[in-house]
Symmetry: D2
């Protein structure tokens, strides 16, 4: 790191490349960052693509050689938003060169590979962050505070889902999301988010019993192609989960849920209350408290506002709504703070590894139709 | 049956006794019944209780001897709303005396006992009805029509819950709901409703994988008592289900879901659409159709109205709301029509038996942690 | 009145005739009524219609001569559910014969005629009830209790609407609802309900400033007819209102609100809280309390349950939903209790008169485009 | 303008200063802007404040002399986010120096002053933009398209509200929002937003009948002060409106609506459908179409997605949610495009003037209790 300045090298210029750029840019203008942020270099597979993104996203330099970032003294952070298959190699290289790493999930398709990444990270003493953006919602922080302070009592049961419908159409062609080598499958791709929410709010998961379903058994090899390729991964995974705390629950990951765009929903029941959330309405959360006057008790819908930090960094007035890009800004801010303080963020590579252990346990459970204990 | 008149003997004067009486009374004034309905005799454990209910509910006679109904020539229908433990004996006796039987669920705690009831019923040629009242909602009939006519395509996945919170408080004493002998347990008691909804809308269930949880391990033997009795049944049951149609899904039964009063909710996803329902808002249902203009598609909230029979029998104007008691009226009406036509209603004892098979399979699955096939 | 028995003579067998019958029947089986209820005689314009309704609704006798009820010693209560134009004459005759009167709104098209009815009633000492059924919702009683006990502070502002869409289609023919002689117009017909809700919850209205709109200027004289008749009454009325308490507000009555079935909605803001209600979800109400912890405050959705009397009379379990017909049962019960105790019910003819004064003031205000004070 | 580069000078570093900065920054990274954007100079009352904001917001230079921007050749756009009282003077000066102007609403407290601004603008040939951010919601563009294409038929009636509660507490001290000289009052401050939405979607307003209410008659001169200052402006304004199209409607502006944070809500009814929107859930809109099958029709909840431009610029996946800051980005983008093409944006100073005419007409109407025609 060069004094109070921090240099970022971003790899990937697609959906997540833009989202990370917006995250950094919004964070820069909303928080007092611990560093002077330098969006230094952006890398993509071709120079024209990288150059176009450089201009659009506001980076200083463009390159078609991501490896050049590794030895660039102006780069402190390598930010990986490439297709899943490339995450592991890039992250390992970045760590090996002493760079801090911000990486979209999943880190790698297997638990062992994730463990390798964690070991490398911890050996190198670098700070990492994984893109579990939904956890950064100020209302989830509120939920966590309420649960941790006993507001809903001891958590007894949990129910969650992460459902979208972008794979419901059987003419959607085979792609990296469907490739087991890139960690494909609805559970690995989107179900990891609901596992992360469960862990964030209710704590470690000790065992799972799961089933997987492949709804679309084969897909065209390319859009409109007549040649078909068999699909081996899950369109739906359902799991029962047991938490170390004694709580139990279930979740579903489903990317063929016709009509759903972002159903990242959960219900958490405790002995004294309950919390219900839907990402479809991410600026509100519902809280039930059993202790209140029976005539007037019910679920209270709480709108996000400055009383739910760091909402106020983006907008001083309640009810104005944060969006997805602010979640990325909070994620980026947390990462930069972690680098400044040397304290690992809650969703670093170790957390990515812990989530991957649950993902893998679910797949193992589905193969054996038996409860799998998570070490 | 005595000409066009039909005589009803009701056993039980509690919550469900009143609900059945309201059901019959509302049905009588809303439909053109196939019979002149005679609310003839009401039976309870003591004569004062029976007599009080007689006056309140509008029956002609009261008795403390339910067996007297069996041989009463004025009685064509025996309606059983007593505690679960008594259902089987009363129903068998009624059938043996050639009476039609309307009985609250569950029929009996074991599959064999339910099978015995079905066999007796079919041998005697009497008509039966079980209290799966939620299925009688005109909006569930709409949902069934839409699914059966292919409006949402082939059903791919289902998610359901029946959650309430009346057992969440650990000081609620041990009672018949907790006694395995009376078919106790959250699954048997309330989960059977969501199984019934699944079967009604998506068809027969072929196998299950379930787990059960006992949250409150012991309860006072009576309200306020210091002596405790261990609880052996489930407070929560979760199950994965596979349907004969190939659809898969999951459900939960939970009577400790703090804050929930009547969360009988389901989501049904098909290849071309989806249907979402919550009993918490029983006068509305949501429909998604994938084929529509992408700019304006979404879940359409449909309010119950006369266009959803038999809503119009109760109210000619849309949006005025039916309540729980109208569901009972529809149930009673369907039962009387079945008697008149000799055609079994959809929710007769055989359906009660089929639901019980799923309940029992879930309990067996939870004990063995393995998939159980339903014969 | 004949001892503890009370005899009812019902005039009219349509939508409201059935609703009143259901109301009485449900009340009878849900409450401990102060009388033995005798549904004695039902009257309609023709004997076959009356006789058919007698059988269906469960009355003892049928007649085509409503005047025969006036002198029938078995009749204590005359219940008027005929077209609006007939209300006044029938009610006056009933009162003159010392009968208690239950009458659908509006009592009469003019304030003077309503005053005449009130005077006759009070002179005769009979008990009356008007069909402001929405006020009977247990959740509106909760709202009233909360407001009266200061839970939301001093009421500062109110916003209400009663919108449906049954007149939106311009081919709906001219009928009694459109005839000024029968008190026609959206305000008189449905707007009176929101005025009643305002008065019930916030108190007397002291002045209004209103406008009326006729959207469909002429309608066919009969369904499908080519001959058209000009429409002189309002399809929409909007009004600003000032309450005696100092609160101010507004409401709209609109029977051409495409898509609305029963939008009887209001928002009541006070210095310390707010209450929001929609008849579209009549089993829930929302309460905001400013005093609570800022992090967790919001609108609490309260589901109707036994803790909101008299919900428990119909169903011992929360969340099971009351419907429109239970509102009528509560209305009937309140009326019978009033007869037994001699205490006027909250929605007697005097209340009908007070509401009519507001209706008339709105029409006068719209003609003059000026504030009208209500005496 | 200096070639393809455009230089921005921002005056004001508070809530709106940050929001504009975020708007520009997000726009820069989400759209292909017609200019290379140069966030050149930021001005505030003191140099330390300006310098702190410069660092935080990412501007190149800071100044405490806003007038220096007027003659700065690097500045093409002056962006005014100062207290209302200063808008007019600054905008006039900017226009006089040939700068394009982006200004928060209101432009000026009187119609004449707004007219003066429009005249100056049009004489100078500069492009202007006013901060009617809510109109920039992609779902409002969808609503406008649906209305303009006749999807809901001819608009018959409209109902709107803009309510918040930031002035409900009577201890909130007197400030510029309450000063008539700075255009104070709930109508001018927040009601202008709902007027803008009405104009955007339903067209010009031809006349109004309004009333104003001052709930809190005096406020402390400063926070915690015992000295009180009388309040002369409106806490609530309600208005009936008539549109040039023949549609009629009403709206309310209320900044004492306890519990409301951002209730910018409207319902638009047409002869063939309806549209309902609430800013409290700004990522969804509801559409009713009368022509559909009666059994399945209802309000369809449409979630924002890439099919609603320019949502896709910020996020390629539906359901991820835009927030307030993206509305500002769309506003900024539209402004820059207007400068590039020379075509006035929909919400330029002329639109601000038109809105102010409605605001002023409402205040005049409230004083005279009569309909006021808008020239």
């Amino acid at each position: 790191m060069s004094g109070k300045r921090i240099g970022v090298g971003l790899i990937g210029t697609g959906f997540m490349g833009r989202a990370h750029t917006l995250g950094f840019s919004i964070a820069q203008r909303s928080f007092t960052l611990p560093f002077e942020l330098d969006l230094a270099v952006i890398a993509d597979a071709t120079l024209p693509a990288a150059e176009a993104a450089r201009r659009n996203f506001g980076f200083r330099k463009a390159t078609d050689d991501w490896k050049s970032l590794l030895t660039d003294p102006e780069i402190d952070v390598i930010d990986i938003t490439t297709p899943n298959l490339l995450h592991r190699e890039m992250a390992l290289a970045a760590i090996a060169h002493g760079k801090h790493v911000y990486c979209e999930k999943p880190l790698a398709p297997t638990v062992d590979e994730c463990a390798e990444l964690v070991a490398a990270t911890e050996k190198a003493g670098v700070i990492t962050q994984v893109g579990f953006n939904y956890l950064k919602n100020p209302l989830l922080s509120l939920a966590k505070d309420l649960i941790d302070s006993g507001e809903i009592g001891r958590v007894t049961s949990v129910r969650g889902i992460h459902a979208e419908d972008f794979m419901a159409d059987p003419t959607v062609p085979f792609g990296w999301r469907l490739d087991p080598l890139s960690g494909g499958g609805a559970l690995a791709d989107i179900g990891s988010h609901i596992i992360a929410s469960f862990r964030h709010l209710v704590g470690p998961i000790s065992s799972v019993l799961a089933e997987t379903v492949t709804l679309v058994k084969e897909r065209p090899v390319a859009r409109g192609a007549s040649e078909m390729r068999p699909v081996e991964i899950d369109d739906i995974t359902r799991a029962f989960v047991r938490f170390e705390s004694g709580a139990t629950g279930s979740f579903e990951a489903n990317w063929c849920a016709t009509g759903r765009k972002m159903q990242h929903d959960f219900e958490i029941y405790g002995t004294k209350g309950a919390i219900v959330f839907s990402q479809e309405r991410m600026n509100e959360i519902r809280l039930f408290r059993a202790g209140e006057d029976i005539r007037t008790r019910g679920f209270t819908t709480i709108w996000a506002g400055p009383e739910h930090p760091p909402y106020g960094a983006f907008c001083v007035a309640a009810g104005h709504h944060l969006g997805f890009n602010e979640l990325k800004a909070i994620e980026a801010h947390e990462f930069l703070n972690a680098i400044a303080t040397g304290k690992r963020p809650a969703t670093d590579f170790r957390e990515g590894y812990e989530v991957q252990k649950v993902v893998s346990a679910c797949y193992a459970s589905a193969r054996s139709s038996s409860w799998i204990t998570i070490a």
